[in-house]
């Protein structure tokens, strides 16, 4: 593979130091994104800072109404933690779709968000859960709403010299239920097109939508939250007309690229169908929960 300068950081301060030391210095965590791009000669960073030897960045813990996840926790570590399985089943469900078991043992949760693959499975679930990321840089720490974190195709709002340190996921109300699925033609190594996560909380009547959050991937340059549909659904009950309407909203919101096998119109159509299906399943889970 191509050559690069290589640093091994022992602390996040050392990472920041390395990142501001010059142009095109990139963070290496699980490596499943960046090394793959480098192997294929699609990307040529000057230097990599390996953060995997920094201790204390793998935690998954409950804290004050949130779950805090250290950036280096792998997909399987997050998915397999009882805390996540019980309190954030939507996230567990989404992570089980990612690539293969091997990659889930390697790829980190912080890495996958910073990589900003628009076909992510993790991102839609974390968007629906209203996650925030904590980044640290030479100017100190800041928190960013995940919905404002993705900027463009494989691009985030991370400034040069910033590294993703932690993901904070607010615990949804116990009554809220979610569902994630994606259109896929294979069981392993497929890409979401789309991936849809919906989290619904119903009023006491088990019919009226108190709040709903929708995360979407695979049908545009970034993963996104579908706020227009969320606002439309609030206060309503499930009905074929409202399913039709959220399908229309998603078609009007996304801007997918044309590919050889899939036209942009087809992608819009399938995004609408999957949003309607995932909404229906999440709604049914929420209305049948005790």
């Amino acid at each position: 593979m191509q050559s690069f300068e290589y640093f091994e950081a022992q602390s996040l301060e050392e990472v920041v130091e390395a990142l501001v030391s010059g142009e095109e210095v990139r963070v290496l965590a699980g490596g499943c994104g960046i090394l793959l791009l480098m192997k294929q000669n699609l990307y040529f960073p000057r230097a990599l800072v390996n953060i995997k030897k920094i201790s204390g960045l793998k935690y998954i813990e409950q804290d004050n109404g949130t779950v805090r996840i250290g950036t280096l926790a792998t997909h399987n570590e997050v998915k397999g933690t009882l805390l996540v399985a019980e309190k954030l089943p939507l996230l567990s469900e989404a992570l089980s779709y990612v690539a293969t078991n091997r990659i889930r043992n390697m790829a980190t949760i912080g890495g996958t968000l910073a990589h900003a693959d628009p076909t992510s499975d993790a991102a839609p679930a974390l968007l629906a859960l209203e996650a925030r990321v904590v980044v640290t840089g030479s100017q100190g720490e800041r928190e960013i709403e995940l919905a404002a974190f993705f900027k463009d195709y494989f691009e985030t709002v991370l400034e040069p010299g910033e590294v993703l340190k932690e993901i904070i996921v607010p615990l949804p109300p116990e009554t809220a239920k979610g569902f994630y699925t994606r259109f896929e033609v294979r069981k392993a190594m497929d890409k979401a097109m789309p991936g849809v996560a919906v989290l619904i909380d119903l009023e006491e009547d088990k019919k009226t939508i108190r709040s709903v959050r929708i995360g979407l991937s695979g049908v545009g340059n970034c993963c996104l939250r579908l706020e227009e549909a969320e606002q439309f659904l609030a206060g309503k009950e499930d009905h074929p007309d409202i399913r039709q309407k959220i399908g229309d909203i998603v078609k009007a919101t996304i801007d997918p690229v044309e590919e050889y096998h899939f036209t942009a119109d087809y992608k819009k159509q399938i995004a609408a169908v999957f949003l309607q299906r995932v909404f229906a399943e999440a709604y049914s889970r929420a209305s049948s929960s005790s």
Binding site: M1, F4, L36, N76, N101, R102, I103, N105, A188, M189
Partner: protein
């Protein structure tokens, strides 16, 4: 690029070698340590033929930097047979059931199966297919492979 000295623990043996930071574990195993049982096919983390276990968990060694494997217990296909040369139950079953055609995917299939059965000793066929879904056999001999995993599960319970 400067070489770095790393201490790799592979199949219970310790290897002191110099590697460059851009060298992947799969290539180091094959070219520097002569452990050629591990294959590389797609070389992109997709096909599963380079599967090795790091601390018991399957990973793609074609995407794992050798410098990152330091400090972990690496198990390759060469590490499955016992000291007196007796094959592991999974290897026996792959032979008995004819689950090998060209053989290129086999090491990865066996390593994936080994780690899977360690965790799930009584799997259903559905679970076996799910567990092997990330390992590709281009001879498409999946039926025999699934049979071999079922057989290995039975053998390992005895």
């Amino acid at each position: 690029m400067d070489q770095r000295n790393v201490n790799l623990s592979i199949n219970g043996d310790s290897y002191q070698i110099a590697v460059r930071p851009n060298e992947f574990l799969a290539d180091v195993l094959r070219s520097k340590l002569d452990l050629t049982g591990t294959k590389t096919a797609c070389d992109m983390g997709v096909c599963g033929s380079c599967t090795v276990l790091l601390d018991g968990l399957p990973v793609s060694s074609c995407l794992t930097l050798a410098v990152d494997a330091e400090g972990k217990e690496i198990t390759t296909i060469e590490g499955l047979e016992s000291a007196d040369g007796e094959l592991h139950a999974v290897q026996e079953s792959f032979l008995d059931k004819g689950a090998v055609q060209c053989g290129f995917c086999t090491a990865g299939m066996v390593m994936t199966t080994k780690s899977f059965l360690d965790k799930n000793p009584k799997p259903t066929e559905q679970e076996i297919r799910q567990a092997l879904s990330g390992n590709i056999c281009r001879c498409t001999g999946y039926a025999k492979i699934v049979e071999a995993v079922e057989d290995a599960a039975k053998k390992m319970q005895r």
